[in-house]
């Protein structure tokens, strides 16, 4: 009996110690950023395992892709061929416009060219295991030139931003995460708005936008939304998605609605990381401004 009460005392004792340690850690986290040595150790132990698993997973999905029937492949090929034709005509037209643009730029001496940022490819090696956040881990880190606040793309659309970086991995917060806020603008009218991730919309992969001025510019569903020129963290002109719904707010001053993102967030495998951050591009004077 005595032994028993002793052991229950000691486990209570441990509980108190652990709670105090956790609270202290939370406090430290509040005043410093980054997890310090623990994150560093984890970067070298757990990350390689996640890389291994994701490699096996990729191998398996490649294998299952091989079993697609010839018929399906032919159909896909036909579709792609017509797409290629379409894109070729588009491309020639765009190239002509590009030349024109370059000439005009030279005339205006606008040397900032936003279209060719330096990018590196990365694999998504792990997703957030809890249902509360939409973050993921990629297999490139500081050694490859990824920095905190690097923008991440997949295909043509914006995926998210690097929030934490280690030597060989980086943590990316998707734009559909509840904590994500992106300053964006309508492509045709250049009106700025805020694009917010929302946990409720996360499951159907949609985004919410708000604070679009309610002026005379008509914005209709299907309008393209890109990152804005006033954003302090996102480079200008990255494609976010299409407006799917728009309504005038009750205050009659602003409009808000929903966006269908250009990226399918449920099937992310490869992403592109832009290694130049907006702070570097603008000279770093507005670093640390709000998100």
């Amino acid at each position: 009996m005595k032994n028993k009460s002793q052991s229950s005392f000691s486990s209570k004792y441990w509980l108190i110690i652990i709670s105090v340690v956790c609270v202290i850690l939370l406090g430290i986290e509040r005043f410093t950023d980054g997890g310090g040595p623990l994150r560093f150790i984890a970067g070298y132990t757990v990350i390689p395992m996640q890389e291994g698993i994701s490699y096996v997973g990729r191998f398996m999905s490649d294998l299952s892709d091989n079993f697609e029937t010839l018929d399906e492949m032919k159909k896909a090929n036909e579709k792609l061929q017509s797409k290629v034709d379409e894109l070729t005509t588009d491309n020639t037209r765009l190239r002509q416009e590009q030349y024109e643009l370059e000439r005009l730029r030279e005339l205006y001496k606008l040397d900032e060219n936003y279209s060719d940022y330096e990018k590196i490819g990365a694999h998504v090696i792990a997703n957030n295991g809890s249902n509360w956040f939409a973050t993921f881990t990629i297999d490139k880190g500081t050694l490859d030139g990824v920095k905190v606040d690097s923008n991440v793309l997949a295909g043509s659309g914006l995926v998210g931003i690097v929030t934490e970086v280690g030597p060989n991995y980086a943590q990316v917060r998707s734009i559909i995460d509840d904590a994500s806020n992106v300053s964006a603008m309508m492509l045709s009218t250049s009106d700025t708005c805020m694009v917010r991730g929302d946990l409720e919309l996360m499951s159907d992969g949609r985004l919410h936008f708000e604070k679009l001025p309610n002026n005379d510019n008509v914005v209709e569903p299907g309008e393209q939304v890109v990152t804005s020129h006033v954003s302090s963290r996102f480079l200008q002109g990255l494609f976010i998605g299409y407006v799917s719904d728009i309504d005038v707010d009750a205050n009659n001053l602003t409009r808000s609605g929903y966006i269908t993102p250009a990226v399918d967030f449920s099937k992310l495998q490869e992403v592109l990381v832009i290694t130049t951050t907006k702070q570097e591009m603008t000279g770093g004077e507005d670093a640390g401004e709000g998100e």
Partner: protein
């Protein structure tokens, strides 16, 4: 020593599975919470202390890779492990009702406290949409996974216990 290593291995495997495989197996974009199953079952199988340390390690992994602040999940999981440990006296190997009820309750506590500490404190009061969108679906899926995962953990624990008894009797 062997027990510690195997326990750590179970936590690690569940953590890796959850962040890779179960992302693809998610129903209605909800994943089960394997770490809660592990923490809770070690709690009521092995007592307060071990439940607490298993929870602590599981929470550490979750905080390092999934969370925002180091310490929050550690504390939460450690307390959940400790709570489950106090049900050790009521636990019998062949009874599957108590484990399911306990794991379900732990999962509910985890969901509610995550909502309260992360979202409610940010001023997000859409409680019912979180309850029906995330907390309850996660609960149901976790319980479904428990039916399989719990049997595996139970089996491993039985083997370890038998081995410990054998080696203990050898040295008497």
């Amino acid at each position: 020593m062997k027990r510690k290593l195997i326990t750590l291995l179970i936590i690690l495997v569940c953590f890796l599975l959850e962040s890779s495989v179960f992302h693809r197996l998610s129903f209605a974009s909800v994943k089960p919470n394997l770490l809660i199953v592990v923490t809770s079952s070690f709690g009521f199988m092995r007592g307060k202390k071990e439940g607490m340390f298993v929870g602590f390690s599981a929470g550490l992994l979750a905080d390092l890779f999934w969370g925002n602040a180091l310490g929050f999940n550690m504390l939460l999981y450690a307390v959940i492990g400790y709570m489950n440990g106090s049900f050790k006296r009521m636990f019998y190997d062949d009874d599957v009702k108590l484990p399911i009820v306990l794991i379900g309750a732990s999962e509910l506590v985890y969901g509610l406290s995550t909502y309260a500490c992360v979202y409610m404190l940010q001023g997000d009061f859409a409680f019912f949409s979180y309850l029906f969108g995330i907390i309850l679906p996660e609960l149901v899926y976790t319980i479904l996974v428990t039916l399989i995962l719990y049997q595996i953990i139970l089996h491993i624990n039985k083997k370890l216990e038998a081995e410990e008894q054998r080696s203990a009797s050898k040295f008497v």
